[in-house]
């Protein structure tokens, strides 16, 4: 199962890895040799259930704290962690590989979720996004794409936002992601700007679910109502039905990115 040759090319150990058995031996060999037995539950915790605490046995092989990000790690912290991770990869090819690793790590999306209602509009690749609100009022995301790089982006976004509160989802801005510097060729909105489109869709549909949830509870205004209003305006970018136009003069990471920072 160890094809360790594919590991040697990495400048630093994979950040996210899975302790679940790979679908087949040849598909995810890159994760196997570096998976310390004791550790990975934390990541699975983050993704699968929010009830487990972090494992105290963080692997020393991994230089990033993400692995032990406990329940309640704020979105902003996760953002910071991901930014520093990508920044540490100085070789452009390593960033692509990291992104492709993330892509492989993306939880699969049911075929039932691959419907046009779940399509992220405006992307040149096809991206499907499945969004739910769990019983704790937190947002749960699943995504898939026909492009491996887009899958990588989705995987990163989901890692940051899966399990977050709606306000946290709404609080992520273009500028935050551009700091990640997975590369910014152009700063303007464009159809190839998968990051931005996916984020906007996540935020818009979060708002819809929040509104539905509020309505369901008898129309009581949630405490942060005014914040939601403000945040809803933010969501109104292109490719969405909106009456206000938001100025996205700093774009999110476009699909092409600058490795030369």
């Amino acid at each position: 199962m160890n094809t360790s040759s594919s590991f040697k090319v990495f400048a630093s150990p994979p950040l996210i890895f899975s302790s679940r058995p790979p679908k087949n031996a040849s598909q995810n060999p890159r994760f196997s040799s570096k998976v310390p037995r004791s550790c990975p539950k934390t990541i699975r915790c983050m993704r699968d259930s929010l009830n487990l605490r972090s494992s105290p046995n963080a692997p020393s092989a991994l230089s990033f704290a993400t692995v032990e990000a406990p329940l309640g790690t704020k979105t902003s912290d996760k953002l910071r962690i991901l930014v520093s991770e990508f920044r540490s990869l100085t070789e452009p090819i390593d960033r692509v590989k990291r992104l492709l690793n993330y892509a492989a790590d993306l939880a699969p999306l049911d075929d039932t979720a691959r419907v046009s209602a779940n399509r992220v509009p405006g992307c040149t690749t096809q991206v499907w996004l499945d969004i739910k609100m769990d019983e704790f009022g937190r947002m749960r995301f699943k995504a898939d794409s026909d492009s491996e790089i887009s899958k990588g982006f989705c995987s990163c976004l989901i890692w940051i936002l899966d399990g977050a509160k709606p306000e946290e989802v709404m609080g992520v801005r273009s500028e935050d992601l551009s700091e990640m510097n997975v590369g910014v060729h152009g700063k303007e909105q464009s159809r190839v700007n998968t990051w931005q489109n996916v984020l906007m869709t996540m935020q818009k549909r979060t708002m819809t679910l929040v509104a539905a949830d509020v309505a369901h509870r008898g129309g009581e205004r949630p405490p942060h109502h005014h914040k939601h209003d403000l945040l809803f305006k933010y969501v109104n970018g292109s490719y969405m039905e909106s009456s206000t136009v938001h100025d996205y003069s700093i774009s999110l990471l476009p699909l092409y990115y600058d490795f030369t920072i």
Binding site: Q27, V96, S147, E148, I149, R191, V192, Y256, Y257
Partner: protein, 466 residues
């Protein structure tokens, strides 16, 4: 030829600085004249790179400074000319000269600068007319681009002439700019759109098109060269058949005018559109060719200054074509620069450019098809089938966007990925997107080689992740 390529002699007296620029462009003209002598000496523009005969691509590269750069640590290999072409320095200089020495509003002023600008602007119109062999420069309407030109025909000619039940024939391979305006207009008029599908050679089925023609057909709007399939339609034939049933023909010549001789008299089309930016000219200008009698019969498209004759509070009378369709201040400098681009292309000679591109395009096709798992769309090149110098393709198991991203980042190769403004075509072909490498006369065999090597590397990279 030289007189056309240079600025008007009287221009030199305009400002002392102008003389030095005039000299510069004069020396450039001289240099390229000597090169054209050179090329005449070496039988034809060949693709070979041995020292005996330098290919057209190699010869002209010095005129395109933008090509001499590195992107992401690799030499730029620009293979996206079907999206927009690069501009030779003479075109940029023409634009600069206009603004620097005789910028002034056209058709209105009495003063010297205005007269000069008007002369140059109308000279550019004449150059366009000559380039496509229109019978009169009044048949050339300057627009923002080909898309606007098609919209002009749709909203001006279409709204007037299309009645409920009338048919407009398009192909499934049309660019969106030759589909959407007709959709908008058919909604308003009740006309019906009919689409010609592809045949087994992946070319629009001209036989089916002939069958579709009927007295109900009022317009046939087709591309000349497809920006995805690289196929070339027999426009002359189509026009004959269409005219037989009383239908007009609009030709979208965006991918043909820059690459080959296009003679509107020979084609006998009613309308023809093209964009400047695909033919070494600047963005922001394009043109519509319309037969005089047709343009005469068409109502205005956009209203404003320039296109009027007299304006009253409750009505206005309109100018003659082409002014009738050129409301407001035009892109004067851009039109003049387009004229310079036409001069540049004519200097090289469109037949020569076409010959070079046919060979280079064939080379691209052959090298690309030699890679495994590559599916190229459109007809196979042969003695009878000349493809345009572009290849839209897909690699099995690899999304074209991933491919294009990697090519750019690791190899500096610029190709396009997506639906190339031809979603119906992609849907017909059963794919969501494709990658496209497109050549122009400033590309070389080495560009194609670099591309193929980079592509092979890209494929093996992504395969290693499977």
């Amino acid at each position: 030829m030289e007189g056309v390529a240079m600025k008007l002699p009287s221009f030199k007296s305009l400002a002392p600085n102008a003389i030095s620029i005039g000299h510069r462009s004069f020396s450039r003209v001289r240099r390229s004249s000597s090169l054209s002598v050179f090329s005449a000496a070496s039988s034809s523009a060949t693709v070979a790179t041995n020292s005996e005969s330098v290919s057209l691509g190699h010869r002209v590269r010095k005129d395109f400074r933008i090509l001499h750069q590195e992107v992401n640590g690799s030499k730029l290999v620009y293979l996206d000319s079907a999206a927009t072409s690069q501009k030779p320095s003479v075109v940029l200089e023409a634009l600069q000269n206009y603004y620097e020495f005789y910028n002034s509003n056209v058709h209105r002023g009495i003063h010297y600068l205005s007269a000069k600008a008007t002369d140059e602007f109308e000279l550019a119109r004449k150059k366009v007319a000559r380039f496509i062999n229109a019978s009169d420069s009044k048949e050339i309407v300057f627009t923002r681009n080909a898309t606007e030109a098609i919209n002009l025909v749709a909203y001006s000619w279409g709204l007037l002439n299309l009645k409920p039940g009338d048919e407009v024939i398009l192909t499934v391979a049309e660019h969106h700019s030759c589909i959407v305006p007709w959709q908008l207009v058919s909604e308003k008029t009740g006309a019906v759109l009919k689409y010609v599908m592809l045949n087994e050679d992946e070319v629009p089925d001209v036989d089916k098109l002939r069958e579709m023609l009927s007295p109900k057909t009022k317009l046939v709007a087709v591309h000349h060269v497809s920006n995805v399939l690289a196929s070339c339609l027999p426009i002359e034939e189509i026009v004959v058949c269409a005219h037989n049933v009383g239908a007009k023909v609009l030709v979208d010549a965006c991918q043909s005018v820059p690459h080959m001789v296009v003679d509107v008299q020979k084609l006998n089309a009613d309308f023809l559109v093209a964009s400047s930016h695909k033919m070494c000219g600047p963005t922001g200008i394009g043109f519509l060719y319309g037969r005089s009698d047709l343009l005469q019969s068409m109502p205005p498209f956009l209203g404003g200054g320039e296109m009027i004759s007299d304006v009253f509070l409750d009505h206005s009378t309109y100018a003659e074509p082409p002014s009738r369709f050129e409301a407001g201040t035009p892109a004067i400098g851009e039109a003049i620069a387009l004229g310079a681009a036409i001069d540049y292309l004519s200097e090289i000679g469109m037949p020569k450019i076409h010959e070079y591109e046919v060979e280079l395009g064939k080379y691209l096709y052959e090298k690309l098809s030699s890679l495994p798992d590559v599916r190229i769309y459109g007809p196979r090149p042969s003695e009878s089938v000349h493809r345009g110098a572009l290849c839209s393709f897909n690699v099995e198991g690899l999304h074209p966007t991933d491919l294009a991203t990697f090519l750019d980042q690791q190899h500096g190769v610029a190709i396009r990925s997506g639906h190339h403004c031809a979603q119906p075509l992609h849907r017909y072909l059963g794919v969501n997107a494709s990658a496209r490498a497109s050549l122009y006369f400033y590309n070389t065999k080495e560009d194609v080689d670099s591309f193929v090597v980079a592509l092979a590397d890209t494929v093996s990279f992504f395969n290693s992740f499977k």
